[in-house]
């Protein structure tokens, strides 16, 4: 199984990648998903996280098969 990781907007441009697939055999923390998918950089404090299209805290666990997204503060409307 794998975890699909997405990056959006300025964060995607800064990292130079929009999508990463991580191999996962068991649960991962959001921090682990970030570290493995972003090249080991520290998680910026203003980055928002979603798991399967729902906002999530960094302390939440990610399961194999989940879709995780990291993105900057939203600016719609």
């Amino acid at each position: 199984m794998s975890v699909k990781v997405l990056f959006f907007a300025s964060l995607r441009e800064r990292l130079g990648v929009g999508q990463v697939m991580l191999d996962a055999t068991g649960p991962l923390s959001v921090a682990e998903v970030w570290q493995r998918s972003s090249g080991g950089a520290a998680l910026p404090t203003n980055v928002l996280v979603s798991i399967n299209h729902e906002y999530a805290d960094v302390g939440k666990q990610v399961q194999p098969g989940d879709e995780v997204a990291f993105f900057p503060p939203v600016t719609g409307g």
């Binding site: 959006f8 979603s50 900057p72 503060p73 939203v74 600016t75 719609g76």
Partner: protein, 147 residues
């Protein structure tokens, strides 16, 4: 009912409203109040002249968040209907970005719900604005205006 739409082409909010009003004519006697908000792209931001904008979004999550916040407002204020239309893609100054229309029995619920839907949208719906200034430089909008 709740209707949410994302559009990647320009739209006329007043035509949308007229069409919707036509569809819901049988219900219209129940709704004593309609509140409407239309957000339009400005040609300036943070002191700079803006030539165009690209509105990125997170397909799937955006629709889910919009439907959730509209449904929450329906339940909180016992609304009759909510119509929420939002642009994505390339947008030019003076083009509409967002339409929020709510129908309810009384004005207080309509005004409050319309405002609340916009505020929750601006803080939770995964959209990101990238603007091109008149000098050709490109930048991401980092924060919402206060209101």
């Amino acid at each position: 009912m709740v209707q949410v739409e994302l559009l990647d082409i320009p739209f006329d909010p007043w035509t949308y409203l007229a069409d919707w009003q036509g569809h819901r004519s049988q219900q219209s006697a129940r709704s004593g109040a309609t509140a409407v908000f239309v957000g339009v792209m400005r040609d300036f931001n943070e002191g700079d002249d803006v030539r165009e904008m690209f509105l990125e979004h997170y397909p799937g999550m955006t629709e889910r968040q919009l439907e959730q916040l509209a449904t929450d407002a329906m339940q909180k204020w016992l609304l009759d209907d909510v119509l929420l239309v939002h642009r994505v893609g390339n947008i030019s100054p003076s083009q509409p970005i967002v339409l929020v229309a709510v129908w309810s029995a009384h004005r207080a619920a309509a005004f409050d719900a319309c405002r609340q839907i916009m505020e929750v949208l601006k803080h939770t719906a995964p959209f990101w604005k990238r603007e091109t200034l008149t000098d050709g430089s490109v930048r991401w909008v980092e924060n919402n205006t206060p209101g």
